[in-house]
């Protein structure tokens, strides 16, 4: 980073310190890593073994058929995080967080989940270390994505449809509207309250530096895999929800000055890059967590119901936000039609059904590859395919009908 990263802070007239709250709800090693800001953090042996156990390193695959289809002189590689058992990069931070929790004698982990990727990763990671887990799943997703719920239950998690009657906050919401469909903000608030009142710990899935740190395993593996095949990357691309997959993938390259162009891709429907402000804002809708300085649409921003659940977030990680402000990282925004087309091209050439989130990165890659074709440049484009879309097929079905 070229400049100091503005630290988290408490709001002006806080009745309680959010930063102090973190200490009560997060495992301390996770907090230590969040605030220690060491330049290199070595991965504990046990976490390395856990990574191997879930099939890391994930493969780096050349998208040969996609290149042929686009008839581009560019080479396209993708790091396939969908190869993890939970189907996305989320497990990379859930595993170490669960490991540190186990080491600290914690026996129960709590978190919230929207689309379900994060909850799935926490459920599995908890179980791998013999811990219990409780997942507050946004009610509308709980009902629309029963398979996500099933998989979490198979992993041994308690899954609640949030709002629940198990927390004061949930009770309050239900009291106002017994049919409330839930939201990520409510689920997060419930998870934090539930952890606090039961002496459990809360795991955080994105945005914070510690999460980006854990996700950097993606970029570090990719760098090594590129070296093994003697390839120098030019352009690095990833999609941005909270920023942890993009950060984990690209920061190691930025830090070691490999590559010349870094593209963060967001959703046109959630236009944080084009319309967000660079401000201190709450990472959570309920305002329970400390303020952080980031590109944000405002914590009260209500994202439209796009299919890329993971991109329906109002902000972007502070480190990524700064790199975008400093113009070290470029950004793009694509709409659903554009990303559905990209997903179709990708799945018909490479076979993998990409998560709708990851399809944003694919669209940018296609545009870069076509640009390379126009200029006849032999660019090496590498992107992070953050997850597969096998549990998002109903979404694709709807897109097919709507956009088709």
């Amino acid at each position: 980073l070229p400049k100091p990263l503005p630290p988290p802070r408490d709001p002006p007239d806080a009745e309680f310190s959010r930063i102090d709250l973190l200490r009560k709800i997060m495992p301390s090693e996770v907090l230590r890593q969040q605030f220690t800001v060491e330049r290199f953090v070595s991965i504990p042996k046990e976490v390395r073994e856990a990574y191997i156990n879930i099939g890391r390193p994930t493969p780096l695959i050349r998208a040969k058929k996609l290149e042929e289809f686009l008839n581009t002189p560019a080479k396209i590689y993708f790091k396939y995080e969908g190869a993890t058992p939970t189907g996305s990069h989320k497990i990379n931070t859930a595993l170490p967080q669960a490991y540190f929790s186990m080491k600290e004698g914690i026996d129960h982990l709590v978190t919230e989940t929207g689309a379900g990727q994060w909850g799935t990763s926490v459920a599995l990671s908890a179980r791998m270390y013999g811990l219990n887990s409780t997942i507050f799943m946004v009610k509308v997703s709980y009902e629309q994505k029963p398979q996500r719920r099933t998989i979490m239950q198979l992993y041994g998690a308690n899954v609640f449809a949030s709002p629940t009657p198990h927390t004061e906050y949930g009770k309050k919401v239900l009291n106002d509207n017994p049919n409330h469909p839930g939201s990520l903000g409510i689920a997060m608030s419930e998870a934090i309250e539930y952890a606090l009142s039961n002496g459990y710990k809360y795991l955080v899935g994105s945005v914070l530096d510690v999460v980006v740190l854990h996700q950097s395993v993606i970029g570090l593996e990719t760098m090594r895999q590129l070296q093994e095949i003697d390839e120098e990357p030019d352009t690095l691309v990833g999609c941005v929800g909270g920023g942890s997959n993009f950060g984990g993938f690209s920061f190691p390259f930025i830090g070691s000055k490999k590559g010349t162009k870094y593209i963060a891709v967001g959703s046109y429907e959630v236009p944080k890059f084009s319309q967000g402000a660079y401000n201190y804002d709450f990472p959570d809708s309920a305002g329970l967590l400390p303020l952080i300085k980031m590109i944000t649409l405002g914590r009260d921003y209500v994202p439209p119901p796009i299919y890329s659940g993971g991109l329906r977030y109002h902000g972007a990680a502070p480190s990524l936000s700064m790199l975008i402000k400093e113009k070290i990282v470029d950004w793009r925004e694509y709409n659903e039609k554009e990303i559905f087309e990209a997903a179709q091209v990708f799945l018909q050439t490479q076979g993998i059904v990409p998560a709708p989130e990851s399809s944003h990165a694919i669209r940018a890659v296609i545009d870069e590859a076509l640009e390379a074709k126009r200029k006849n440049e032999k660019k090496v484009i590498v992107f992070n395919l953050s997850g597969h879309g096998l549990l998002d097929l109903p979404n694709y079905e709807s897109m097919m009908k709507r956009i088709g």
Binding site: R9, P12, L31, F35, E38, P290
Partner: protein, 245 residues
């Protein structure tokens, strides 16, 4: 003398006029080398809950800050460094610095200088120095290495390094490894503070190469519980630890 420094912090006017003056004198008598005085800010954005409480209490009665500062100056003879947010003074900085100089203040520390004003920090440091004041620069783990190195040479008296992003919240950080690393970057005296939470932390910081430690939140918590005398006695304990280190 080769002894390491104790930098003690007091919120101007806390807990009340009389006890405040007793505190600053006591802290100096107990062996503080430098006093940091916190000026009531509009928004104590990078302060923790304990120091925020002290500001809140002071805000209810203190009208004449400058008068009390003058008294402070008369009461003690160690260097006085004012801690205040640049944000509150951007449009009247010259007046502020002039007044400080007139009051006999030695230096000023803006915690938000490298965070919210990083693109122009050199201009502000120049201006402080041009008014005949010392510019004490605040850094933290989120400041990039090259910048720490650069400002360490620019900072007067010492470089202030905060180990935790928020004072008073004992977030888990590895004080020793952080200081060991930063020590190699700093071409100046290094004072560590902003969240040293206990004696153990202090010892780690000193052993890792800090030239001094800065204490604030601990005093205020002690005053809340047992009054200023007890806080002064803590300062004596810390002085002993430093001398023993």
């Amino acid at each position: 003398m080769n002894l390491k420094m104790l930098v003690s912090y007091a919120t101007l006017g806390y807990p009340n006029r009389e006890d405040y003056l007793k505190l600053v004198k006591g802290l100096v008598d107990a062996g503080s080398d430098i006093l940091e005085i916190g000026l009531l800010p509009k928004y104590a954005k990078y302060d923790g809950p304990v120091i925020r409480r002290s500001y809140k209490q002071v805000s209810s009665w203190l009208k004449d800050s400058w008068g009390l500062l003058e008294e402070t100056r008369r009461a003690v003879n160690v260097p006085l460094v004012i801690l205040t947010y640049l944000e509150d003074w951007v449009s009247s900085l010259s007046e502020l610095l002039t007044k400080m100089r007139e009051t006999g203040i030695d230096g000023v520390l803006f915690p938000d200088l490298l965070i919210d004003f990083v693109d122009e920090y050199e201009k502000y440091v120049q201006e402080i120095k041009a008014h005949g004041l010392k510019a004490v620069i605040f850094t933290s783990p989120s400041v990039p290495d090259p910048l720490i190195h650069k400002v360490s040479m620019l900072s007067d008296m010492f470089l202030y390094y905060g180990v935790r992003p928020t004072t008073g919240v004992p977030l888990p950080v590895s004080v020793d490894s952080v200081i060991t690393r930063v020590r190699t970057l700093v071409d100046n005296k290094l004072v560590v503070g902003f969240g040293l939470s206990d004696i153990n932390d202090m010892k780690k910081a000193l052993n890792a190469g800090a030239d001094g430690i800065a204490i604030g939140t601990i005093y205020i918590e002690e005053i809340e519980k047992n009054g200023v005398e007890s806080a002064i006695s803590l300062a004596r304990t810390f002085r002993g630890i430093i001398n023993g280190a």
